[in-house]
Chain length 146, copies 2
């Protein structure tokens, strides 16, 4: 199972310390350069408002199974948290597609550091990527807040 980079992130975050723990809601703009060889795969991508971007955490440690998180003193299993350190350091950002300029996607809501290899891009669909109960509970939460 050998991966090929289909593109590369151009991000203002140059180091792990500069990047946020999570990108959602960030107004920071980043660019995905899709390599020419794969440009046909972008056909009709403008129809998507949000994208799931899978990228490779090229600076991650792959031999870590239990790790501290920023949210607790109790170490967690890597499959029970979102640490970039994991056996297969494939990270996931749900990003807003702001614009497309040829082979370059302009996106918001990312936490990837500069030069991260991009592995895959998929359109995000609430109907398949959000459990029904969560959409429903967000309604309940909103109503109880008002």
């Amino acid at each position: 199972m050998e991966l090929v980079p289909i593109g590369i992130f151009h991000s203002p975050y140059k180091t792990k310390d500069e990047a946020p723990h999570q990108g959602r809601g960030s107004e920071v703009v980043a660019y995905i350069e899709v390599f020419e060889k794969y440009i046909q795969g972008l056909k009709d991508i403008e129809e998507a408002k949000y994208l799931i971007i899978l990228y490779w955490a090229h600076q991650a440690k792959r031999d870590v199974l239990v790790t501290k998180t920023p949210f607790s003193d109790v170490p967690k299993g890597v499959f029970a948290c979102r640490s970039p350190n994991r056996p297969n350091p494939i990270l996931l950002d749900v990003a807003e597609l702001v614009d497309r300029k040829g082979n370059v996607l302009v996106v918001k809501g990312i936490d990837a550091i500069d030069s991260s290899p991009v592995l895959d891009i998929k359109p995000f669909y609430a109907e398949i990527d959000v459990p029904k109960e969560i959409l429903f509970s967000s309604v309940v939460r909103k109503e109880s807040e008002t």
Copy 2:
């Protein structure tokens, strides 16, 4: 970028034709066997109700860039649709964690076919995996339906 299987899917779907296009909402139960070498990575996974499971579509074609979808006669770029055929056939299921029995996770809401290699497991968090606008629009939709 060489991947290692951290486990394997035991799924009732034996062939691509048997599997649904998407697993969300399915009551069908499947099992993820996490290999002994990686079992420490599961520490505290019971705290998650939903998991993002990344798995390898071992029967996918990797040289396809434009493809027909079940939803339209117009072919789309593979990065603009959810076809398993793509340069890096890493598929994603947001599944419900029903139970854990040692190194086996019992999950619902999957579309993986039997024996698919499992690459990564992450806890799903609405706060980071669902765009704010989508949670909000689900509220609007619900209210307009009532």
